[in-house]
Structures are given as structure tokens and as C-alpha cells.
Amino acid sequence: MSTRTGDRAHAVTSHVLLGFGAVLVVVPFLWVFLSSFKTTKEILASPFSLPANPGIENYVNAWTDAGIGKYFLNTLVVVTCALILVMLLGALTAYVLARFDFPGNRLIYNLMLAGLTFPVFLAIVPLFFVLRNAGLLNTLPGLIVTYVAFAFPFTVFFLFSFFRSLPHEVGEAAQVDGAGEWRTFFQIMLPMARPGMASVAIFNFLGLWNQFLLPVALNTDTDNYVLTQGMAQFSSQAGYEIDFGALYAGVVMTVIPVLVVYVLFQRRLQGSVAQGTFR
């Protein structure tokens, strides 16, 4: 068999396999999208039937009943603030842990590792009191601080290896130039770690965007709900009222913005994500 025919056979096989995978991914999305235009009775009747009167009624219902718009805004505020803070603090701590030697360094590092493996469930009730005593319970700032704290160990871990791998001559050169710690960090170290920062930011963005357990217990004021809470409440509500059409519409509205963000930024993601590893 010549290389060429072997190649072709291989290409066909690859495309068949990957195509099958793509179908597995896309079909549920399309099915949900289609169903979001059907009435509940149509959904109950057959999984494949086309909507008789495709309209945006389900979307209107989901938008008003599930409060998707408001929850979306809350989520955006919380996730953006938390992301900026955790990236900044995480980078600083990772840099200090990676580039300076001081007593307790190792201990702090291990404390981070431990924090990664704890189930969030365990912390929720004590956390409730911490927040309440700080006057932050049921507030968006409270949620932001909590998000920052819980995304922190992961961020430090990921960036630690990054700062570790930067040649130390860089820092020394800066010091010879008389740059202080702040300047060294912001003007030299941080820019060099940019690829790592980008990938951790995307990791964190998705993780925080999808966070569910923390807000459920710590953010019980419906006005402050984030999207995942809204969806969970809406789905159990839709379960009682059997409004499957609106449920699907809610799913579509939750997912689309994230997909759009991903498609826009995916080039950046794939170029940088590999740099961080557990070490």
C-alpha cells in the first residue's frame, strides 16, 4: 500500500471518528435548540417533531419567569470582579512562592494543594458564619470574595510553575537596573507570564461562571441570584409546572453567550493553555 492510499484510508477513518464525536456533541445542542421552540405538549408528543408554530413565546416565558436577564448581569458582575482580583492576587502570590525563598514557603504551598482537594460542601456552613459576621452574607461582594478565595489555590498552582520556569537572569537584570519589587513584578515578570495568565483566566472564568454550590448556600436573596442558581430554581419550578419548552429556552439563553465568548477567544486559549501543569 502506497503512502498515499494509506494516508487517504487514514484520513477517512479519522474523519469518520471525529465526525461521529462532533455529532455526539452537536446533536444534543441542536435538539435542545429545536425543542426550545416547541410547546410542552409537542415536546411530550415526540422527540423529533418540528414545532408547529415556532415562536419566541418560550423565550419570553423563560426570560420573565426565570429572570435570566437579571441573573445574567449578576453573574457578569460577580465573575468579572472575582476574576480580576483572583488573577492579580494569585499571580502575586505565585510569583512570591516561586521566586523567593523564605521560611514557611513550603507550608503555604502545601496548604494550597490541600485547599484544592477539599469538597466545597464541607465548608459551606462555617463559611456562612464567616460571611455573616463580616456582614457580607447575601451580597454580591460577599460572593466575590468567596469566589476569589476558592479560585485562589488553583490559580497559584497553575502560575507557580510559570514563574518558576522564567529564567532568573531576568529578575536579576531588573534589580541591577534598580527596579523595586513592584516594578520588577508588573513591568517584567507579569508580561512574561502573560500566556499562563490567559489560560488560567479562561479556566477560572468557566469555573466561576458554572459555580453552583457556593451561591446556593451563601447567596439566597433571589435578587442577587447568579445564572446557575436561576437555572436550577427554574428547572425545578419547570418540573412542577411542566413547562419543558421554557426550560429548553432557558438552557439556550444560558449557553449561547458562553459559546460566543469561547468561539471568539478560542485561538488565544489553545496557544497558551498547555503551559501550566501541576508541579
Binding site: 425545578s236 412542577y240 411542566i242
Partner: protein
């Protein structure tokens, strides 16, 4: 008796434990050196929450609600929604124009409110219902007694106690304290489409033998007798319990409520389970229920009419209103019995009040919680509830004979009237939080993976485990 002794010793224990706990809190603070300030905040502040300054008690203000009070209610947002409480709060707002009444929905009562109970800042009124409700054995001691609500006049000027169905107080009494007001009158029955039955000349079965015969008829019409969904497999347990109690009498109920050994092996119980086993074995259940969401399963009965019957509480019509076939005429009949001369009579039904409303003692404004209850129990609010939710409340005489045009509501009223004194109720399943474990065995049984004997063993084991668990406070039922 043994129960009350147990309770006393637990109280004494709890008093001692406070000290142990303080030590624990100190230890906790040591574990978190940077959180020195946490030592104080880590200790869930116990006791004394309800320090709100009250208004003067009068006939118009029986609980002494301050005129500018802020009242907060958290309502389970399930089959009945929560707008009916908003309606009642609106009524109360007319009487207390300067007070604010906030009504918030929740679908996960326990998870959302647990920290607030521990922290001593629970809301003033809670509808403790749904799959995520707080087990009553854990909070009964922290709730206000509600006797004064019954003694107060409603907004139309009648003493509330005189307007209610009997037995309401019993259902909400734990360890001798009446702490939960169950607002909705729920009747448990088996539901069917009157029009479909008439078309085919079928009659609702009064005994299990008749039910099995009906299953054969259904098969000829290419239909099934029953359908179930995974989260609601225990609706069939409710049906079996109702049938066994009705057939065997009150001793059957007491043995089960008091977690007696072999309670599930009583004759009436076994006859019922054997009949169900036969129905499962003959393939009269729509298959696949263990993998079907319960409302989707219910729609196969109400919308597709693949199954003839569905056992449920009276909320079913409201729950399925968007997924019910045209001209369905939902009607109910009392749970079948093991013979045609059951101990409590063929008309006997399980009727009890549900949707327990509680007023936590530590709430800021317990008077406000009670005021909303008073508003809910007034004729206007109770009628509004029945009319919009198509379900009766514990307030008598608010449902007209035509059931506001609902066949199911009319059927409930008719069944209640026919049963007269022959109604019964039981609470051990909810009280001990048994449902999650029982769901698993019932799903297996209805799928055909367990026979009646295996089901009995499974259910008895759940009961025995709780009976043997010293950390669970028991309630003696007589």
C-alpha cells in the same frame, strides 16, 4: 413513654454540651491562627433572637405586631407556587399599612435555611415542604406554638378554630406542642379520566382483584394500568399504605408509625404488596419508570393516556394542568382495598393537611409570621387559594359544589363527604426523612427487580435502622 424519657435526657445532654461546644470553638480558633476574630463568629449564636419590640395586643392585632414591622416569609415554591402567600400578605398589609411583608420563594428549604436556623436568624414564616424540606425531628423544639393563631379571630371576625376541618392540630403536633400549621387539605386517591372510562365502559376498581381485572381490560385497549416516575415511585408506597390501613384498620397504621419490628409484614400490608407484585409481573405498568422524570411520567397518563390510573394527592390536577388531554375530566376514587369489606369501609380515604407552615422561635418577628397565617386562614384568602390552585384548604366551606369548574376538586369534596369520620393520616415517612431510601427500593420493585418479599425486607430494614439509631428522636404515636 419511653420516648419522652429519651427526650428529657437529650435535653439535659444538650445543656451539658453547650460547654463542650465552647471548648470546640476555641480549638477551632487555634486551628486558624489568622482567624482569631473568627473565634467569636464561629460560634453559632444560640438562643434569644426574637427581641423585636411589639405593638399592643388587641382583637385586631392578636399577636402584638409592631405597626412598622418587617416581616419575612420563605415559601416552598412547588406545586402551589408562592403567590397565594403573597396574596395573604397583601391582605395583612391592608391592616398594617406601615409594615412590610416580604414573601420569598425557595425550592430547597433545608439547604437555604439551615445556616439561618443555626445562626439564630430564621425568617418569620416558613412553608417547610418539598423534597428538600427540613426534617421535623431536627427543628420541632425551635418553633413557636401556634395555639394562639387558632384562638384568634380571622379577618371576617370569626374564631379561626371554628372555621377549620377537624384534625388539623394533630397533624402539626410534635412532642405535645402544636408547631406546624398545615394549610392545604390533601386527599390521597387514585385518579383517572372519567371520559375515557365512560367511553370504554370501565368502572373504577374498589378492590385489588378488580384492579387486576381492569389491567387485563386495559391491555386489550393497548394501554397500561399504571405509570410511575423515578422521583415519585413512592406514590405507590402511599397507595399501598393507604390500602393496608384501610383494609386492616388502625393497628396497621400504629405499628408502622411506631417503627415496630415486622410492621411491613402485617397481613393487610402483605396482601396489598402481593397484589401490586402481580400487577407488576403482568406488565400492567408502563415500563421504564425508573429512568423517567416524574412529571414526564405523569404526562403519559394525563396527556398521552397510555395508562389508566395514577395514585397521587389532590394536587395532581393543578400540577398537570398544562399537560392534560382535552376533555380529560380528571376524577378520583378511594384507594382499592384487599377485600370488599375493609376494616374502615370502602369509602375510607387518607386525608390530611399538608404544606406545614412554621414560625421559628428565634425569628425577628414571630408575630408577623402569625399575622400572615391569620390572613391566610381568612375566608377571602382561603377561597382565593382554592379557586386558583384547585385544591381545598383546611378552611371549611370555601369550595362550591361545582369545584370552581374542576372535576377533580369536586371529586375531592365528594370523597371527603362520603368518608365522613373514616379518614386517616400518617406521618412517619416525612417525620423520619425515609423517602430517599424508600424511593430506591420502590423503583426496583416497580421495575420488576424485587418481589414483594424483597420489597418488604428493604422497607423493614429502613424502618429498623431508624428505630435502632439513638441519635434520632422518636415520636410515639397512639
Amino acid at each position: 413513654m419511653s420516648t419522652s424519657k429519651f427526650t428529657d435526657s437529650r435535653l439535659a445532654q444538650a445543656a451539658l454540651d453547650r460547654r463542650t461546644f465552647v471548648r470546640g470553638a476555641v480549638a477551632t480558633a487555634l486551628l486558624a491562627p489568622l482567624g482569631g476574630a473568627l473565634a467569636g463568629c464561629a460560634v453559632p449564636s444560640g438562643g434569644g433572637g426574637g427581641a423585636a419590640t411589639g405593638g399592643a395586643v388587641s382583637a385586631d392585632n392578636p399577636f402584638g405586631l409592631a405597626s412598622d414591622a418587617e416581616v419575612e416569609a420563605v415559601i416552598f415554591n412547588g406545586g402551589y407556587g408562592f403567590d397565594y402567600v403573597e396574596f395573604a400578605a397583601g391582605e395583612a398589609g391592608k391592616l398594617f399599612p406601615e409594615a412590610t411583608f416580604e414573601v420569598a420563594p425557595s425550592t430547597q428549604i433545608a439547604q437555604e435555611l439551615q445556616p439561618r436556623f443555626v445562626g439564630g436568624t430564621p425568617p418569620d414564616l416558613v412553608d417547610n415542604s418539598g423534597a428538600g424540606a427540613i426534617g421535623f425531628n431536627t427543628i420541632a423544639d425551635q418553633l413557636e406554638e401556634l395555639d394562639d393563631v387558632f384562638e384568634a379571630n380571622n379577618y371576617e371576625g370569626t374564631r379561626i378554630a371554628d372555621t377549620l376541618y377537624p384534625g388539623v392540630q394533630d397533624t402539626g403536633t410534635y412532642n405535645g406542642r402544636f408547631v406546624a400549621l398545615n394549610y392545604v387539605m390533601t386527599l390521597y386517591a387514585v385518579w383517572y379520566s372519567a371520559s375515557l372510562f365512560e367511553e370504554n365502559g370501565w368502572a373504577p376498581p374498589a378492590t385489588w382483584q378488580e384492579a387486576i381485572d381492569l389491567g387485563a381490560e386495559a391491555k386489550k385497549a393497548d394501554k397500561k394500568l399504571f405509570v410511575w416516575g423515578k422521583e415519585a415511585a413512592t406514590y405507590y408506597q402511599t397507595m399501598a399504605l393507604d390500602s393496608a390501613i384501610k383494609s386492616g384498620g388502625d393497628e396497621v397504621r400504629l405499628a408502622l408509625e411506631n417503627l415496630e419490628p415486622n410492621a411491613w409484614s402485617q397481613d393487610a400490608m402483605q396482601e396489598t404488596l402481593t397484589a401490586l407484585e402481580e400487577i407488576v409481573a403482568k406488565g400492567y405498568f408502563v415500563p421504564g419508570g425508573a429512568g423517567t422524570q416524574f412529571t414526564a411520567a405523569q404526562a403519559r397518563w394525563s396527556n398521552d393516556q397510555d395508562a389508566l390510573l395514577y395514585p397521587s394527592g389532590g394536587w395532581i390536577e393543578n400540577e398537570m394542568k398544562d399537560a392534560t388531554a382535552e376533555g380529560f375530566e380528571m376524577t378520583g376514587f378511594p384507594t382499592p382495598a384487599t377485600s370488599d369489606s375493609p376494616a374502615l369501609g370502602l369509602e375510607a380515604v387518607r386525608a390530611g393537611s399538608g404544606e406545614p407552615f412554621i414560625v421559628p422561635s428565634q425569628a425577628k418577628n414571630p408575630a408577623g409570621g402569625k399575622e400572615i397565617l391569620r390572613a391566610m386562614l381568612s375566608t377571602a384568602a382561603a377561597t382565593h387559594f382554592s379557586e386558583t390552585k384547585l385544591a381545598p384548604t383546611i378552611v371549611k366551606g370555601t369550595v362550591p359544589a361545582d369545584g370552581f369548574g374542576s372535576t377533580a376538586l369536586a371529586a375531592q369534596t365528594a370523597m371527603l363527604d362520603a368518608a365522613g369520620e373514616n379518614t386517616f393520616n400518617y406521618q412517619f415517612v416525612d417525620y423520619y426523612g425515609m423517602n430517599p431510601d424508600q424511593l430506591v427500593v420502590w423503583n426496583e420493585f416497580l421495575s420488576g427487580g424485587l418481589d414483594a418479599k424483597g420489597l418488604t425486607q428493604g422497607l423493614q430494614r429502613i424502618s429498623d435502622d431508624i428505630a435502632a439509631d439513638d441519635s434520632v428522636e422518636k415520636i410515639e404515636v397512639s
